[in-house]
Amino acid sequence: MQRLVDMAVSAVLLAGLYATMAYGLGLIYGVLRIVNLAHAGVLMAGAYLGFVLHRRLGLDPYLSIPLVLAVTFGFGVLLYRGLVRHLPRGAAGGPQSLLLLFGVWLVLRNGAYLIFSGNDHVIRTSYSTRAVEVLGGFVSLNRVAVFVVALVPVVLQLVLSRTYAGKAVRAVAQNASSCTLVGIDVERVYAITFGVGTALAGLAGLLSATLFSFNPSFGTGELLKSFVVVVLGGLGSIVGTSLAALLLAVVEVFAILVLPAYLTSAVGFIVLVVVLVLRPGGLFGQRVLG
């Protein structure tokens, strides 16, 4: 029984990490209809940013969150203004945006190889191996901290539904042309959304770096997981993303009871295929940001 409780706790904590990885990807697709392949590169960059701040300035990774968010937000806005906005939108711009953002990912990755080499790096703090007791079992303090931080972007849901800026973002996601008619600066909304989505990817990279070792190839597997979560949850749905992350984590963790361990991560992809066949819009439908 205790083993099942431990597994349930693990699943919830893992869901927090998956959700953090996927928020940015879902947000950008929800508003701009762009599949941001540079998401993986920014995840990696967030990890290295946290590493440099920790190694050079001695800054705790959790205290460096605002700095990492600011830098990656700025990078996202620049990326949008400099490159992405010149692309055609919607289905017509699909291949171009995929190629462009894949190129950005490659540049980031190879830049990291040049600067940091292919060696694995880690962020180690005094609490990296500390554990706390949760429901009779021990879990890493770091994983609990990552889960708590992962809940913060859910605030984004409130921002999108309650504030003027949030309503503007949702309106642009629904019909950009009409927004122009009512005085909403669509380009500004796009730039900010791309920046926020990129910042969330940077945050996910930083949080991952507190748990795992990383190298310039980091982010590839995380991008795949993010795709699964975003598509399962319904593209553009933030609550859906959170619930899909929980579903994926529960399926992966509990699959070990009936499957060999090496197959458990494949279970998530099987669930994805089943959901796409039965509910092509995702479990929670193709809502526009909530």
Binding site: S117, G118, V122, S128, S140, A261, Y262, T264
Partner: protein, 416 residues
């Protein structure tokens, strides 16, 4: 007879014309150097270790050239190494090997690093009948294809599991570990992991009831959450926690292992354990008493003359102690050069024959090296088992003839 002779002469002439270009290209003029080709993963996922192999190759080549070159047929010929970056990808490794052989016209090849790259690249060498000596492909599958030109100076990973179990068995027989002992055997789902599992499992099967495998699970490379797997280990209440993992997975698993409050009398992550990166990531106190088994350790210099000579030369050149990566790369070069000198020619068939028959002093554990034909020309030298100590050292604890410390079992950390 009178009728057939005129027919034979034109055929003979035609055959000579056909063969002549091939003879000219390789033996038409006297060679002025020994051209060696190699690729290494100098960028990409395996870049770190590719860099280590490069150091070993360069040291071996420079040593020979400082002596005036290789003694080939009464003449000293310098060695020219053409080293290319295969970017850690199979396709590039294959293409570059083809280029080295057919465009750069190298005489022999030294191998790349990582089993999957060696597996793909060695096929090109075999097709072109070029001797290929490597220290980077340890998976036994590579040597089960009946290749004649492939030589591996890296012992099979099966022996890693076996050597580790031999030390554990010694401690069990000394009454320091329970009998029977329950094992949790976790292995990465690769040829490396499968070989490790095979080595441990075969030892268990012949142990006469000394061990039982309570958990036998593989895991995906680069996994993020091992809590379910560790939950199974916890529930099985095992004595020996034996894992085969790459460095990133070792760090991830062991962080979660510590976080889950686990501790076992024997803990090993296969070939991983003493790496500086792991100590930095996990803290010295958390890696203490972890066992690892590796192909070579600089402490072998205390008992093996060739290891001493290499360790001193490496230290003098790079101002640091070598690891097994550089040692195996250096030894690959040394072995190939020895075979060339013994053959006294650059003829590939002659050098291949010398390699196949080689039995020479070596820096490897055991002190000698040969390529047994029944093992696909892969050396079968023992591994060395080392154990991390609280003072940061990692002495060799097994085999006894090269051990620099006794080793500690059970893990004292579990008493705290």
């Amino acid at each position: 007879m009178h009728l057939t002779r005129p027919r034979v002469i034109p055929w003979l002439a035609a055959a000579l014309v056909a063969v002549a270009p091939a003879c000219r290209s390789r033996s038409g003029s006297a060679p002025t150097r020994v051209a060696i080709g190699a690729t290494l993963p100098l960028t990409g996922a395996e870049a770190r270790i590719g860099g280590f192999f490069k150091e070993g190759y360069q040291l071996a080549v420079d040593e020979v050239n400082q002596r005036g070159g290789l003694q080939v047929g009464g003449r000293k010929l310098p060695v020219a190494l053409t080293l290319l970056d295969d970017t850690s990808t199979q396709a590039t490794a294959v293409n570059l090997a083809d280029r080295l052989i057919n465009s750069d016209k190298v005489d022999f090849l030294l191998g790349t690093y990582a089993s999957h790259l060696v597996q793909a690249q060695s096929a090109v060498a075999e097709q072109n009948r070029v001797p290929y000596v490597n220290g980077g492909g340890g998976a036994t599958d590579i040597y089960r294809r009946g290749y004649k030109y492939l030589f591996g100076i890296i012992a099979p990973v099966e022996l890693l599991g076996t050597t580790l179990m031999q030390w554990i068995d010694r401690e069990q027989k000394a009454g320091k570990l329970p009998r029977p002992a329950k094992i949790a055997l976790l292995w990465e789902n690769t040829a490396h992991g499968q070989d490790f599992r095979k080595g441990v499992s075969e030892f268990v099967n012949t142990s006469g009831g000394g061990y039982t495998v309570a958990v036998d699970e593989s895991f995906e490379l680069g996994g993020k959450d091992f809590s379910a797997l560790l939950g199974a280990v916890k529930a099985a209440q095992v004595d020996l926690f034996l894992v085969d993992a790459h460095l990133p997975d070792y760090i991830t698993i062991h962080r979660q292992y510590i976080g889950a409050g686990l501790c076992h009398p024997v803990v090993s992550y296969g070939a991983r354990g003493s790496e500086k990166g792991a100590v930095e990531a996990l803290g010295r106190e958390h890696v203490s008493y972890i066992l690892s088994a590796v192909w070579w350790n600089a402490q072998l210099a205390q008992t093996i003359p060739q290891a001493k000579a290499f360790a001193e030369a490496f230290q003098a050149r790079y101002q640091r102690a070598p690891e097994w990566f550089q040692a195996l790369a250096y030894e690959s070069g040394r072995v190939l050069f020895t075979a060339i000198e013994q053959a006294g020619t650059l003829d590939r068939e002659a050098v291949r024959a010398k390699l196949a028959a080689l039995d020479m002093p070596s820096l490897l554990p055991g002190g000698r090296l040969r390529f047994p034909a029944d093992k696909g020309q892969q050396v079968q030298n023992s591994f060395v088992v080392q154990q991390n100590m609280p003072d940061g050292s990692s002495p060799i604890v097994f085999p006894a003839d090269v051990a620099t410390a006794r080793g500690v079992a059970p893990n004292p950390n579990c008493k705290r």
